[in-house]
Amino acid sequence: MSKKILTVDDSKTIRMIIQRAFRAHDCSLCEAANGEEGLAVAAREKPDLIILDITMPVMDGITMLTKLRQDPELKATPVIMLSAESGQANVATISQLGISDYLVKPFKEEQLLEKAGKVIALQLKPAA
């Protein structure tokens, strides 16, 4: 069954790179440019995985993650944090909020696929 992945990042560049990373896999991607939009899209789409940036305008990733974990319908959604910030204290704080994994920018697409593959069952698209 096709998996649904939500990307929340204010950078269109990152959203496009993530889209490209998963293009060979049987999954659909939806996106949001900040935490507020991300919560709305998550409530509507019920994604199997959320790939979440930290530093964003309007609502940052930590606030979105906190609200997500308080929502009875969304609290179990796996989240991979994707951020340019890798400080030990930062990672420790975020880990306490309940994340599946943490990927630091810069990153290679293979690293993202490997981490996502540990959280959801990724399958290649059937040959056309």
Binding site: T13, T55, A84, S86, G87, Q88, K105, P106
Partner: protein, 180 residues
């Protein structure tokens, strides 16, 4: 017609003590940039960026793009990534896997340069935090034009770091509030 723009920086955050060596702090941050720039270029663009003499891009008459990200906290500063518009466009195409025709005007190029700047300074920020100097990043900004100069509103220290990437050269400018 030549366009001119000026960018004024303001440091208004409280300056606090830190546990890492302050006397050469700007040089330490410069060293961190000298390692984070090649790392980001290699990982995200599969390009080799090699430290080189700082180029004089601003007298070239070419349109320039400058991505900037600040760090605010126990240490305060801002980093500008200066490139020619042509090189910035080439980087955007490479990073997104798009042809020149597929890049939508300048918007996508600006977004890529903002994100590359964010990754470069993010790596520096993380190392500063791990060294006992907590700080946060600002949202990336991108300036585009000709003959613009970066000026600090208050006293600041400045370092210019040059890089070569194939036949192209680019500049990383670091401005920091002096440590006391």
């Amino acid at each position: 017609m030549r366009r001119c723009a000026s960018v004024t920086m303001r440091f208004e955050m409280t300056f606090m003590t830190t546990t890492i060596k302050k006397t050469n702090l700007i040089d330490e941050v410069g060293d961190l940039l000298n390692s984070s720039v090649p790392e980001v270029f290699n990982t995200m663009l599969t390009l080799e960026a090699v430290p080189a003499s700082p180029p004089d891009l601003h007298s070239s008459g070419e349109t320039l793009v400058a991505g900037s990200v600040g760090f605010i906290g126990d240490v305060n500063g801002v980093v500008y990534l200066h490139l020619t518009a042509a090189f910035a466009r080439a980087l955007a195409g490479k990073m997104l896997g798009l042809t020149d025709a597929e890049l939508e005007g300048d918007e996508m190029v600006n977004d890529v340069i903002g994100e590359v700047s964010n990754m470069i300074v993010g790596a520096v920020k993380s190392r500063l935090c791990d060294s006992g100097s907590p700080c946060v990043l600002t949202i990336p900004c991108v300036v585009r034009g000709q003959d613009f100069k970066v000026a600090s509103a208050g006293a600041s220290e400045r370092r210019l770091l040059g890089f070569r990437c194939g036949a192209d050269h680019f500049l990383v400018e670091l401005l920091m509030k002096p440590s006391h």
